[in-house]
Amino acid sequence: MSTETKTASNTEDYLRMYRQMVRIRTFEDNANQLYLSAKMPGLTHMYSGQEAVAVGICEALKVSDKITSTHRGHGHCVAKGANFKEMFCELLGKEEGYCRGKGGSMHIADQSNGNLGANAIVGGSMGIATGSAFTAKMLGKDDVTVCFFGDGATAQGIMYEVMNMAALWNLPVIYACENNGYSEYTKTEEIAAGSITARAEAFGIEAFQVDGQDVLAVNTLATDLAARARKGEGPFFIELMTYRYHGHHVGDINREYYRTKDEEKDWKENRDPIIRFRTHLVVEGLATEEELDAFNAEIASDAEAAVAYALDAKYPDVSEVDMHVFTDIKHALA
């Protein structure tokens, strides 16, 4: 995430985008490994394959800009500036996690970087994002809010309710629909009639469709829309065409009944956002293979260290169980 509002047009920005995408992929590979080795409580939803969406968008934002995230939220969290250590601690339910272990993967939040949190209710954060934009407008701040959600979430009525209000009141919010072709085990075309972008347009909202595997295309569009939203020209809607590499969640292993291995292979081999961007960087002479490999290695060892730390970290004390129910009552059950 950049500290200034600008297009990511120089090498430094590009390399940060590359690194952030690799960080997400690396985080997810480690999280998946934790699941497979039965070290992680519960299930989690992998973001791998969609990295260009989170990174392309978050790199267009300031720290004080807000995002709302989803059940598939690790990518947004990393892209908006979170650290591995607190993230892994949260995934393992440890006290040093972003939410002191109380949230877990589906509720990870990082307020210091403007991430208002993942959400386990599909569509559950659409109101929150719109309200965040309302705050910005009411208090005269120039913050923009990006609302991430999946294609499946477009079936939730609340989306239309808040788009209507955002449009009526010109709120600085960008609705970012990550269309990865599936909601759980169902293809998008089976659950979405008509056109997703037309649904936003019907409310008078400018809507765009963009290749979600092309980080620069995403970033260019997001940078432009964020700037326009700051000027009061919002809201906007983006449909980002992307793909998730893993199952719906880490436990969704046998998925041939709903999508073919060939399809997965095609996306991974021919449209991977990291490979594509890496090639671009090398071809354009912005980085060498060696430099990029060095980034990868550094990120891998960062992740390894964070995982090891988190595994060893302590759980919250049981006395925390009734803390934070209310802001002003230390122990709700005392």
Partner: protein, 331 residues
């Protein structure tokens, strides 16, 4: 002390708090020029403008969700939900989102919002506009729930609610909007979690919520004529609940009736009665009785509607029997 209506009291509380805190705003349907169908908010848009008194489309889940997000990011929304029955529409935003924000974030985020809505039957409004649904939100950890019993409480509790850093739901009795009570001109707040002993007595404790406090008081008047001395208590907030004051009273009187306008079964009377039974067990001379609204959808017909809710006469009748030892086992 001057007397004003509950509706004016709410209006004053809002105006005072909005003057005090520029981050507060009102949001809901027809809250601005119309001042709500109950005309409670008249004049506020003139003072605070449409930026802070915001008319919404008929999108309850949407504008409550918006309020949650606004609250999380530095403003203090005061949501106007036109009828308490619409709470069914916004449970997800209120209970899955607002109520859990602080806890799920390990104390890092807050959602300081107020949801003002109403309850109460006998207005001939039919089954979808007459419900008293406070039990539903009281069951969800993370929400505070206030139930003003007069204009005085309506003002003082609302002001406290607006300053609270937690999501608060406040239920006004829509039958009471025009009822007057003494309300000081000077600013005051009513703290949450402190019950109000409306009248002291020695034979039986009548615990009422919202307008049922008045029913309890009317019942106490009837009983007084018969030489039965009833203590009347208004918990004011059901979350947090001032258990201590209630238990103390029951230990003294040895008998109690809880009176509430929510449906009786699986409602709030069971919770309060259970706590009294658990914590004052050996002091009780009779079972703690509960009087809620009948477990039926509220019927439209006046002939039926009026019998669905507790009345002073029925409360007095039950109290009389309890005191006479005729209800060792309630039926």
């Amino acid at each position: 002390m001057r007397e004003i209506t509950l509706s004016q009291a709410v209006n004053e509380a809002l105006a005072e708090e909005m003057r005090r805190d520029p981050t507060t705003f009102i949001i809901g349907e027809d809250v601005a020029e119309a001042g709500t169908p109950f005309k409670i908010l008249s004049g506020l848009v003139e003072e605070f403008g449409t930026k802070r008194v915001v008319d919404t489309p008929i999108s309850e889940p949407g504008f409550v969700g918006l309020a949650v997000g606004a609250a999380m990011t530095g403003t203090r929304p005061i949501v106007d939900l036109m009828f308490g029955d619409f709470i069914f529409l916004i449970m997800d935003q209120l209970c899955n989102q607002a109520a859990k924000t602080h806890y799920m974030s390990g104390g890092k985020m807050t959602a300081p919002m107020v949801l003002r809505t109403n309850l109460g039957a006998t207005r001939r409004s039919g089954a979808q506009h007459s419900q008293s649904l406070h039990a539903l939100v009281a069951h969800i950890p993370g929400l505070k729930v206030a139930m003003p019993s007069s204009a005085y409480e309506a003002k003082g509790l609302l002001k406290t609610a607006i300053r609270d850093n937690n999501p608060v739901v406040i239920f006004e009795d829509k039958l009471m909007y025009q009822d007057k009570a003494g309300v000081p001109e000077k600013e005051y707040l009513i703290p949450f979690g402190i019950a109000n002993v409306k009248r002291t007595g020695s034979d039986i404790t009548l615990i009422g919520t919202s307008s049922m406090v008045q029913v309890a008081e009317a019942a106490a008047d009837i009983l007084a004529l018969e030489g039965i001395s009833a203590e009347v208590i208004d918990p004011r907030t059901i979350v947090p609940l001032d258990e201590g004051t209630l238990i103390k009273s029951v230990k003294k009187t040895s008998r109690a009736i809880i009176i509430d306008e929510g449906h009786q079964s699986y409602g709030i009377t069971g919770e309060i009665a259970s706590r009294l039974n658990e914590k004052a067990f050996y002091y009780l001379d009779a079972p703690v009785l509960r009087m809620g609204a009948m477990d039926v959808p509220i019927p439209f017909s006046p002939a039926l509607e009026d019998i669905t809710v507790p009345t002073p006469e029925r409360v007095a009748a039950n109290a009389r029997k309890l005191c006479a030892g005729e209800m060792i086992h309630a039926t």
